[in-house]
Subunit: 124 residues, 2 copies
DNA sequence: TGTTTATTTGTGTCATCATGCAACTATTAT
DNA sequence: ATAATAGTTGCATGATGACACAAATAAACA
């Protein structure tokens, strides 16, 4: 039996209150901070490449840092709705919430584009 | 006459070397850090909303921090290719590089989706 | 029961970074 | 040339955050 351990989720999860400064689609700072750390970005990439849920100790093997630190990074990504954690016995399986993640970034891109002035002409 | 002051640009600008850990489309950590700071995110949103280039002192009026700090934030965003800086006399006009920004985030979204397993079924 | 394994969490340390203020550079005006 | 304005940069400080290690929690197994 899989037990969801994503109880007290941030508002991020429910899609409400996303946005910064009145422009809908701009993610909040904490979400972006979660993915901006280089180690977390690598962990995320690792899980994306794995294409299947992985347990903490397995993930930790790929990184030259203490497994407790990996656990903390995973928790940060989970709290932002980027990862899903499922407990199965002693182990906790982490997986990527693909649709959620891509929709946030696609929304960001759209938010910026929708404000893009018609005559966009950059350098060179 | 407008003078480009975006000389020593990061590789970010030229579209090369973007990517993390072998998955093309995942932006690097520094780029994400640039947009993950809450003040920088607000500055970016401010410029997006303005829909036209603005000078440093004008931007700084909207933020309760020293204008030198705003200048530093703008430089960080510029160095990552997110903003364009154009000097005109004493003033420096900053504007959003819309296409660049949105393409990065859209690429990120696509990179994640392209790795998305067929049976994507998250918790409700 | 106690023991082992998997993960989380408490705590201290060190590095990074946002901030304010002052000094410096650059451009325009008197 | 001097002064005034716009912006950048040097420097000190305080806050945040990544990290290691140890202790605590949780689950399976002896």
């Amino acid at each position: 039996m899989m037990t969801q351990i994503n109880k007290h989720l941030k508002k991020a999860q429910k899609g409400e209150d996303r946005g910064c400064c009145g422009i809908p689609g701009i993610p909040d700072s904490r979400f972006l901070k979660a993915v901006s750390d280089s180690t977390r970005l690598r962990i995320l990439a690792h899980l994306v490449e794995a294409k299947k849920p992985q347990i903490v100790s397995e993930i930790a093997k790929s990184f030259p840092i203490d497994f407790s630190v990996v656990s903390r990074h995973l928790a940060i990504l989970r709290n932002e709705g980027i990862l899903l954690a499922e407990k199965q016995g002693k182990e906790v399986y982490y997986s990527v919430r693909y649709e959620f993640l891509s929709s946030i970034f696609r929304g960001f891109a759209s938010a910026i584009e929708s404000c893009c002035p018609p005559k966009e002409r950059e350098n060179e």
